[in-house]
Amino acid sequence: MSVKIFKINEELKEYMPQEIVDLEEKATWGNPKRGVMDLPYAKELVEEHSLCAGCPESAAFRYILASLPNPEDTIIVNSTGCTSLVFPHIALHTVHPLFGNQNAVASGIKRVLEWRFPDKVKDVVVIAGDGATIDIGLDCTLQSFFRQEKITTICFDNEVYANTGGQDSGATPKGMEFKMAPGGKQWDKVPMWQLAIDSGCHYVARLTVSSPKKVEQVVKKAIYVAREVGPTYIHLYTPCILEIGLNADQGLWEMRQRDKERFKFFEYMSDEAKEVIKKKKEEGLL
């Protein structure tokens, strides 16, 4: 896709809503150095979101969309869940496949784009919840890693099936209780970041979204490595404040608590990934 597609015809500009004119004039297209520091000044690629007030997922969305190095040539594949309510509002190409097969669809899209546009860089990023990535879609997720698909997978882990009332998921920690899982989770949380490493991902990170700059760094690293080497995986803690009984202003506090324990920052890079990251740092892109 060309950025020209966002250029509004001068004759009809006066009829366009300001938010659309801003997308052309104030969004950070064509600038790989864009990042979360642009948020107060640049037009964001998500206008409004339909998540609950104070939802940490909405912060994750803002940081990720602000950090994509190549938004005009990025396709996001999402999945069913709270996140799927936001995708229709973002100013990028998104694809909503069946629940759980997001990595299979993303693989196909990436391969076709490489064939159709061999001279252009096109990034494919999967953004899905823990149910789609770790439970229902684990097969498709891992198979895409085994096949070394050049895609980035970002899991929004809220440790529960939140928008269906609170059932435990593979990502729920042992013993945690929810409204529809009153007996408590009987097994341990699936260490998806470790599965990703064992399955062939070249860059893996686990973190909360309490630090915007850190989210930007891992998103950029994951995308650059996926472009040149192979699959990458980011595991983000985005707690469901409703399901764990917190107020709208307590999401950040919750993430900061988990920063010290089960979501302590963790990063893995293969040797090829280290090379790419080193190169990008030298180019001033990281």
Binding site: N9, Y15, M16, S50, H89
Partner: protein, 189 residues
């Protein structure tokens, strides 16, 4: 709410379920009749000039300067609006808006009736809207409003519009503007 019957559940335009299909090349569709393009243009201009709050809904294919044809069409649409005394309300993309659209400034294919109701639009022209979304919007407008719809499509046309003009490129828009000026004169406006 209109009672659409089974066609409401069909993915196809309502007119298709009633056996009405798009016109052959060089012709136009007026309600369920195939007519000459000029006849249809004349009626379309008349509807826009005589009904209340005529409005043009340009879609992304003409709102954005993505090729030379789009740039030419944008100029002509503005001229067309001046000749017809019509408002322009853009359908700039197809994202559903949350919590709701501003019906004075925009139209959304997922609930186009809101814009038509709010502005009491009795005649409108769809131009530059991608066909699948034009079909969705025209079906909803046909079911929920009393608006006279005109589709100026650069491909095969839309059965659910009251008047369908197909293969409409810049030169056809110029022809329509010329006819609209004639009709305006005839109506003494």
């Amino acid at each position: 709410m209109a009672k659409l019957g089974p066609s409401g559940y069909s993915p196809y335009p309502v007119a298709v379920t009633e056996g009405v299909l798009t016109p052959p090349p060089g012709k136009a569709l007026m309600f369920n009749e195939i007519v000459d393009e000029e006849t249809a243009m004349r009626e379309a201009a008349k509807a826009m000039l005589t009904r209340e709050n005529p409005t043009i809904f340009p879609g992304p294919q003409v709102l954005y300067a993505w090729n030379e044809e789009a740039k030419k069409k944008a100029k002509l649409i503005k001229e067309m609006a001046e000749v017809l005394g019509a408002k322009i309300i853009p359908m700039y993309d197809y994202r559903p808006k949350y919590p709701k659209i501003d019906p004075e400034k925009e139209i959304n294919p997922n609930h186009p009736n809101l814009t038509i109701w709010h502005n009491k639009i009795k005649a409108c022209i769809f131009i530059g809207v991608h066909c699948h979304y034009a079909n969705v919007a025209l079906k909803i407008i046909r079911a929920e409003t009393d608006c006279f719809t005109i589709a100026m499509c650069s491909l095969a046309g839309h059965e659910d519009a009251m008047i369908t003009l197909r293969d409409q490129h810049a030169e056809d828009l110029e022809k329509f503007i010329r006819i609209a000026k004639e009709v305006k004169k005839e109506l003494g406006k």
